[in-house]
């Protein structure tokens, strides 16, 4: 029971953290390529994937995209960020499972950023009906520095989480 409460608090904290990070990000100047962004909210997803189960991480992604779209965006934004968020979560999960301890959050977050972009481009392609994939090479280039930043931040945070025993994967 104690573990359940701890876990619940941790999940809520990750959702809140992701929402605030996407808000802070929206205050910063945008990168002038449609779809490109820093992806701070991915820090929360990365931490979720390494400390919680896939199902719980999925819930965190859905909760944070729905909540931040309602608060800071609109239904249009929700469609893009939900598709991108879910696709990137699945991609990051597979990379973590596949490479296990051979990969750090840096590589995982770059892959996550790319699949987030792919998800958004698929929605844009369906909604706007144009060949928008010409943007993908430029988005790949942007994904490297932003992924490095998000990855290093998450590596750093994870050390503290391990120190304070926030790992629910072993507790189940």
């Amino acid at each position: 029971m104690k573990i359940q409460t701890r876990k619940l608090v941790f999940i809520s904290m990750l959702v809140a953290q992701a929402m605030i990070l996407s808000y802070v990000e929206s205050l910063l100047p945008a990168i002038p390529i449609p779809g490109a962004k820093l992806g701070f909210a991915n820090i929360a997803t990365l931490l979720a994937l390494s400390t919680l189960s896939f199902k719980e991480s999925f819930l965190i992604v859905v909760a944070r995209t729905v909540l931040s779209s309602f608060m800071f965006g609109n239904m249009n934004v929700l469609m893009y960020s939900l598709t991108g968020g879910i696709l990137s979560l699945i991609a990051m999960y597979f990379i973590l499972e596949l490479f296990k301890s051979n990969v750090s959050f840096v590589g995982v977050s770059i892959v996550g950023a790319i699949f987030h972009n792919i998800g958004q481009l698929i929605v844009a392609w369906l909604v706007l009906n144009i060949n928008i994939f010409v943007l993908l090479p430029y988005l790949l280039l942007v994904a490297i520095p932003t992924g490095l930043f998000v990855g290093f931040s998450s590596n750093y945070l994870l050390k503290y989480l391990h120190k304070s025993n926030f790992n629910f994967k072993d507790n189940r």
């Binding site: 945008a30 002038p32 051979n102 990969v103 590589g107 770059i110 010409v134």
Partner: protein
Amino acid sequence: MKIRDIWIIVIVLAIALISIFIMHNNSESDIQTKMVIRAANEIYDEIPLTEDTNETINVETARGLNKIKIENGVVSINEADCPDQICVHNRPIDQVGEIIVCLPNQVIVEIVSTNER
């Protein structure tokens, strides 16, 4: 940072650079091009592009206004009333396949080839 991280970075970088290189090499200079403006999924206007096309087009829809400028055949969005201004900051385009998108106003400016395939 671990060994697979570096793999991932190198692979992504290679794919990005190769595809940008291919995209730029495919655009030949003698190709006839036109600019297609789409607003809310419908074609708003089409203008053939040459090296001395100079024009300003105001795209007014229910969602907002975008001012599109063509200067010597190079297309850019001059002014827009959208909140993010991403389209205004987009670099000017003149190659086939390049696009400028204004998501909030649902305006897309695209350069397409008018040559028969």
